[in-house]
Symmetry: C2
Subunit: 427 residues, 2 copies
């Protein structure tokens, strides 16, 4: 009945998603990021300034009836933030720290599962070009994941300046270059090797390209990479990566960090330090990001920038893998049950009880006695407590019933409110 | 550069939107509603079970590449919740109280402004057929609006059972019926009159139809309406409306209520009590809802139901009209400035300060002295406080600087943390 790969979250799932969202937005706020809301669709011709072919290919498109122009359901948020920063926020002082909570849309093969509508929370740091800015993206990601209780995650650092530099010999042929990037991204060593031979690439270059796939692991990767080339762009990229790593070490994050210089991510706009986050037992990355120093200029206002995004469903999956307790939003804390004629008292009482934070429903009965029916209702709806009004007695003689035992005690409104003070609230 | 009628919210707007969303979701929770997340697009053939032609006409559609079927970007959430309740939640005990925060999409003429992507927060009460359920929708709407500080709003109550009953003579001709509904909805009395004459409708019926447009005002509307017809469905509808009104009076809401029996709302699925919310100075309704007793059966599980939705942008507009103070998210509370070599101390300090709730950025300087530059940075970014680390001194001799005065005092980390205790936090 519903398309595969789009999300339907029931109460427990939505509650979990909200709690993750709240933690992430709160972390962004503490780090000085302000939330913005980008539109869900954009004109294709404007949006395409910011993203590569592959991303555009995977985007949902339709014709805008009002203008006849092609619209695109955003497949990526970063170009939107870049546009907002370069236009609406062009006059704000830099650096600009912005964050967002937004869903993105990508065509996927059916078998890929729930991945056509993805909830992303991300941040962009606009106007800083230094290693500190790169490190901030990674350190903030780590703080968020740790606050969410995740431990077994690792961050792989890559460097587009190095990787592009190494592949520069191939850039004169875009098709060729794209093919190589594809094999590197997928880490398909044997296919890459076969193909480089078949295309008669010179042996030295073949070796360099293939070694990209081996540049994975700890700190030593940086040294092995430097030994591979004397291209100044490549070496500058490695120096930057070293500086970023030094800052992350200062923050105590070295245990979560690996290097992967064959990492290229799927977005053409990355220019420098990039990273991806992986967690035990979740097949796709939990998030990632990197530096994109030439994206904003496409919207009119050149600026060094970096950013990252987290995929909320995958974080949810990772949390479910590591935690034995299942998050549940339970439901209703209390039912206020009364005879129809006593609605005025009951409504007033419900207002008071809700103001203490109890999730409360009110139920009016047209026949007496109603206590038995109310109890049965509460049982079937798993409501732990009932407050019963006695017919015609106002709020002087209330009964507070524990639904599991069926025991009730009589008390007046003041006593009830005292009893329900916040320290007794169901968390 | 961006399509008209879709939302781009900057930090202040997003902050305001979030605060409204938070209040509404919190009210839903206190009233026992659990949030669910419906998908953003659906198959047209499935979705169209739940909504009328006009709504479908206004929806954005595109072809699903994977299946070749037509997809629709949801123009309305209620049919989605109805589907979820009838399928995924079919086994949950009734009544079911569900709420959502979701954007909906409708084609609109360009001049209609920012109305193609609308943020809705809504609730659905599934499995109750009584007047209490109808009244709950309205009372909850009123509580939400009052909690948000709105005062000058009014709720108009309508009754589809009455209105449809009165128009039953025309139902044999759908085109005719639709035309009448259109004139009634738009309150175009003279055009309706002309057209009824032109179509040679019999004078008694003409009078009844035209009088629909006069059935607007206080409690007396119910009596005037009852005098107009002896159709049992119509009269039953009026009785229900009276019962709903009695409950709302018990809750003290009579001053916010008017009756409008010419109200039809734009959705075909309404069957009983309906309502709309209007506020001084905002052209379109802030929200509305009503009873839809035959919607769930289309998805396999018949159930009496009622619900409502609020339009967050319009509530925001109404709040801006009534409040003189503009909500602002301000920005960053503090900058921690340090020499590059002291990153480890600064990172640790930033962590502590953030944990107290201060929105904090850290800034590393590569040259000494950096105090003047840090101060200038803070001024340009409107950051009220700086904590400066002295080179090589760790956190024993910090300087806390008030940016507006440039005054600084020296203190150690313990003193700083004591100084920053929550009661001093910028709200």
């Amino acid at each position: 009945m519903i398309p595969k790969g789009v999300a339907t979250l029931l109460p427990d799932g939505t509650f979990h998603r909200r709690s993750i969202e709240k933690e992430i937005l709160s972390a962004f706020s503490r780090w000085g990021y302000q939330e913005v809301t980008p539109p869900i669709f954009e004109y294709l011709d404007v949006f395409s300034l910011g993203v590569g072919e592959e991303v555009l290919d995977s985007a949902y498109k339709f014709i805008d009836r009002a203008t006849g122009r092609i619209m695109v359901l955003r497949p990526d948020v970063t170009p939107q933030i870049a546009r907002i920063a370069s236009t609406l926020l062009a006059d704000e002082p830099r650096p600009l720290r912005l964050c967002y909570s937004a869903n993105v849309f990508r065509h996927q093969e059916e078998h890929a599962g729930r991945e056509r509508e993805l909830f992303q929370l991300g941040g962009e740091l606009i106007g800083l070009s230094d290693a500190e800015a790169d490190a901030e993206m990674i350190a903030l990601s780590i703080e968020i994941l740790q606050n969410l209780g995740l431990k077994d995650f690792r961050i792989t650092l890559g460097q587009m300046a190095f990787t592009r530099g190494l592949l520069r010999p191939f850039m004169s042929s875009p098709a060729f270059y794209k093919k190589i990037l594809h094999y590197v991204a997928k880490k398909e060593t044997s296919q890459l090797e076969r193909w480089l031979k078949q295309e008669s690439v010179n042996p030295k270059t073949q070796k360099e390209v293939l070694s990209l796939l081996d540049l994975f692991g700890g700190e030593d990767v940086l040294k092995r990479a430097a030994a591979l080339t004397d291209d100044p762009e490549c070496l500058k990229g490695l120096e930057r990566l070293e500086a970023v790593y030094a800052i992350l070490k200062s923050a105590g994050h070295q245990d979560n960090i690996l290097f992967d210089l064959g990492e290229v991510r799927g977005f053409d706009y990355y220019t420098g330090t990039i990273f991806e986050i992986f967690s035990e037992g979740v097949g796709s990355e939990l998030g990632g990001g990197g530096r994109y120093d030439h994206l904003l200029e496409k919207f009119g206002e050149p600026s060094a920038s970096t950013g990252f995004a987290l995929y909320i469903e995958r974080i949810q999956a990772a949390m479910e893998k590591t935690s034995s307790e299942k998050l549940s939003c339970s439901g209703v804390d209390m039912m206020i049950a009364h005879f129809a004629n006593d609605a005025e008292w009951a409504i007033m009482l419900a207002r008071e009880v809700r103001s203490l934070g109890f999730r409360t429903i009110r139920k009016s009965f047209n026949a007496l006695p109603f206590h038995g029916v109310a109890h049965a209702d509460a049982v079937s709806q798993q409501i732990p407590k009932i407050v019963l009004l006695q017919e015609g007695a106002g709020t002087d003689a209330l009964q507070l019933m524990d639904v599991s035992t069926g025991q009730a005690e009589t008390l007046n409104q003041n006593d009830l409110m005292a009893r329900l003070q916040p320290d007794e609230t169901t968390p």
